[in-house]
Amino acid sequence: MPSIALLAPVLLPLIAAGVITAFGLSGFNLGPIAVGAGAWAAVLALLVLWIPLRSTQELSLGQLGFGTGLQLRLDAVAFAFGLMVLVPAALVLTLQRRNWQEAAIGVLGVAAAMGAIEAGGVVLTALAGGTAATLAIVQLDAEDVRAPRPRWSMLLAAWLALSWAGVILQVRSGTAAYAAVPVSALTAPVFALIALAGLMASGLVPWRSWPAEVWSRPSLRAAGLVVATLYPLGFYLLVRAYEMGDGRYPQVAFHAILASLGVVVALGAAVRAQSATTRRGFFAEVIPGIGGFALMTVALGTPLGLVAGLITLAFAAAMTACLSLLPDRAGPASLVTIAAAVGLPPALGFGARVVGVESTFEAGDFFGFIGVGGTIVWVLWMVAGARATGLPAGRGRPTGETFPRVAMAVAALTLVAGPAIGLIQSAFASPAQADVMPLPAGSVGGGLMSMVTVTTVLPVVALFVPLLIIGVLAYGAAGTRLIRTQPRPPLFNLPWAGAAARLRRAVALASMPEQYRSILDLRALEAAAMGGRPLIWLASLVALAFAVTR
Amino acid sequence: MVEAAFVAWVGAALVVLADGRRGLALGLVLLTAGLAVLAWPAGMAFGAVAIAAGGLVAAGQCLRSGPASWGIMPAGSTPRLIICIASGLLALWVAASVTSGTGAPLRFAVLLVVGLMGARILISHEPGAVLAAIASLALALGVAPGLAATSPGPVAAIVGALIAAGVVFVPAGLARLASIPLADKDGA
């Protein structure tokens, strides 16, 4: 396959966007099938490029002009994250009907996200990721300008921080290409910028942020697509940082802090989930909760942790697709989704979390406590999930954008995929981990039937399949008739839950007391500075002249 | 040369202090004479001729527009007088004491005229006086290249002279051009 084919996963959605726009301007809406075809074509291209070779492929097309070249790279990490972005996006684009403007912007966002993932260096990732963020904002506001969306300032800050990290690498080491950055160039400040970028890009904070807020929009067409394209990108940066650092972050403290932050993020989401008043409110916290667990394990710095994190992220991608298509009403689809989301055995989420907690204990020292914390948070999620089964549905969604059977199928797939975690690990996660982290002999292994770690062997098929059978039988026997929709009190309420919002309101309403306003009259100051007064000019000139004599 | 610099100062001061057309015209004439004489030995012989011609044209046009009076030092012009004296002293100090090398009179004249004409335009409200100041400024800018170490040629002096001669005619000329309707506020 010629290396120019690496452009396909980015170009195909771009071409699709162009075709959609051309037809749209002529008055034809191509419909969701045609729209989704662009994204599915990119999925196909990704599979065709990767599966035959399963080795790193690169393409370099010359300098772009701001210190970086158009360098694309497809390795196992790009393949893994590419699937995480493309598959849910393609599903959502195919099934949900949009007008041509929303469709074009959505597909462009997919192309930009793929550009960020396939980019061979930090600066190009920043350019493409920033583009994806911009398109996400436009997409969300185009759908409903009054509905919650990510703070543009946070997204811009994230990609600007990554740009700065990239140029620092260029200045220090002459390159910002992932494969070429010397380990010594990835200093603590540079990594801090990259980590900050990753956390802000994905909204990985303990308080309610955009990955949760967007799920409360009246329509979830754009929300699902935005989460599918943007949310994995922050984690992508943290994974690529391993490649630049030869398998670890510059200091152990970064591993500890980020992994702890992951637990706190998951905890925050769990606390909000268990106090949700509607099922929609619960589901809004699912992606942040899964992201917290992913961060906990990705940041550990161990091969098993990274593998667990990648599997968790794949699970998050599946849940994104599921939640985007799930209607706001009670029913088996909702129930199965809750079961999958909280990580009931033998779901994929269950397996990922078991392996994740195992990885914290294997990491040793302080990290074991992180695992304990993660387990407690998991239990809280179980409680939240149990409570959520009886909650009222929510505000309701337009029926045209919901597909309960598809949503249930996706959730059920993650439930039954638990026994296949060995396959997912060996085919999907371990190659990506091996690309960025030198593998000590025997750290992670196994095959279809089991996962082998340093301290244990997890016979996934032997354990999970019976659990799956028991679960199916139990569901068949109980069904949904025992579920009563009734408000159940949360397990606990945080006393400071609304404090941040109250503080923000107080700051916004703050004003200068009347008797002091004449001291700082901004209007008068502006008039003086902008009025073209010669005295001001003369004073400025004197100040400049004084300054140069110092 | 020192006399020429002094004449230029007097001319510039008159342009600053006068509000009537006769005063402005006289100031322009004196300024022109001073600058032309200073430009000659600075390697700009042809330029000096251009400066003289441009300045005299400007003075002539100035004499034909504005209040028919001298208007020298009207009421409230004390600050302007102070500016003229202070800037003269400052320019003299810079040209003669702070800086070195030949051409001190030219340095004095350029610094003084540019500074004074700039001040005149900043503090004035009368278009006639402002146009006279612009003409004077153009003449000074025309001879300023004479400060360079190498001979600058006459181009700047010719351009300055043309501007000085043309700017005082601009109101009449642009009144005809301005009859083309300006771009509306809505679009541009």
Binding site: A126, L127, G129, M530, A545, V548 | L141, A148, P181
Partner: protein
């Protein structure tokens, strides 16, 4: 760099004339635009700074005589101050004397340039209801870019190395002042037209920082910023005038895309300019990069405001906006040809 900026200005004029609303008389716009272009061409080809200053005087007088609510004399003040400062600065550089005289000369040239463009602290008086041709905007967005490139190129030939550091430091200092003042002013000022004017100042702040860095990355950043001013902000401002008068903010996707262009988000021209600026600042003095990065976030609230104030472009304007967006995307993703053309 100067010929490229001249071409950009010509292209901006073409866009303005072709895609301006029908009720705007194209003839006068074209006439005054071509006069301005002629003046800029003369500035670019002028062999010395003296001639540049003289041409500047001509342009100032011509523009001041246009019909406007502001007095002729008032409108001349700032440009004449610029001319006087440039002339005095150049004179100081040519005189033999102590080193401090060279520095004062650098002050004069920098201050003169800033006054000519109309940036802080030498801001031209602005009437939001005034015709654009007669307003200070052409100084900032049409004549200003080639003028700045020419003056700085010529100034580098006359300013000795002793004063070079002071020259660069002043450019950066005034750049930061305009960056912060412009972006805050654009966000907080009451009048939308004034907000646009402040936004030009903010962009100029980044350009001046780029010029002040005096390395290839800085100059490249400055060139891209000036291009984004001439071929991005200026046409968008012209097409927003109708909506500014109607005072009806709109929140359509196109307004957000325009906001993204104005904010310098990827993939538009402002983004690589910012990347290059951060790279240049990191090479020389990394705390400056920190200040710049933090300041760049201030563009967002004002850009959202300006994007909304544009209204919904229709008909010819919509085509014009699409062309501007396409140009900005091209420059934003692939600026290399432009930089190669400019010798950077």
């Amino acid at each position: 760099m100067e010929p490229e900026l001249l071409l950009a200005a010509a292209a901006a004029l073409g866009l303005a004339v072709v895609f301006t609303p029908l009720r705007v008389p194209r003839a006068s716009l074209l006439t005054w635009g071509l006069l301005g272009l002629a003046g800029m061409a003369a500035i670019v080809i002028a062999p010395s700074l003296d001639l540049v200053i003289l041409i500047l005087l001509v342009l100032a007088v011509l523009q001041a005589r246009l019909t406007s609510n502001r007095e002729f004399v008032t409108r001349l003040r700032a440009p004449v101050l610029a001319i006087a400062l440039l002339a005095l600065g150049l004179a100081f550089e040519r005189m033999q004397g102590p080193v401090v005289l060279d520095r004062f000369g650098a002050v004069g040239i920098v201050a003169g340039l800033v006054a000519a463009i109309g940036l802080l602290p030498y801001v031209h008086e602005f009437d939001p209801d005034e015709s654009v041709v007669a307003s200070p905007i052409p100084w900032m967005a049409f004549i200003g870019p080639p003028l700045a490139a020419t003056v700085l190129l010529q100034a580098n030939q006359v300013i000795p190395s002793d004063a070079g550091d002071a020259f660069g430091a002043m450019l950066i200092g005034l750049g930061l002042l305009n960056m912060i003042g412009g972006s805050l002013g654009s966000w907080r000022t009451e009048n939308d037209a004034s907000a646009w004017r402040y936004s030009f100042m903010a962009d100029w702040g980044l350009a001046m920082c780029g010029f002040g860095l005096a390395i290839a990355d800085g100059r490249s950043a400055a060139l891209l910023m000036l291009f984004s001013i001439v071929l991005g902000r200026l046409p968008l401002y012209l097409w927003s005038r109708q909506a500014l008068r109607e005072k009806v903010p709109t929140d359509r996707p196109i307004n957000l895309v325009v906001a993204a262009v104005l904010a310098g988000s990827a993939p538009f021209a402002g983004f690589p300019a910012r990347v290059l600026l951060l790279r240049g600042a990191t090479q020389l003095y990394w705390p400056l990069a920190l200040v710049l990065a933090a300041g760049m976030l201030l563009w967002l609230p004002s850009s959202l405001r300006l994007g909304r104030s544009m209204g919904v472009p229709r008909g010819r304007q919509a085509v014009g906006v699409a062309i501007v967006l396409a140009l900005n995307v091209l420059l934003g993703v692939y600026p290399q040809p432009l930089l190669t053309l400019a010798g950077l």
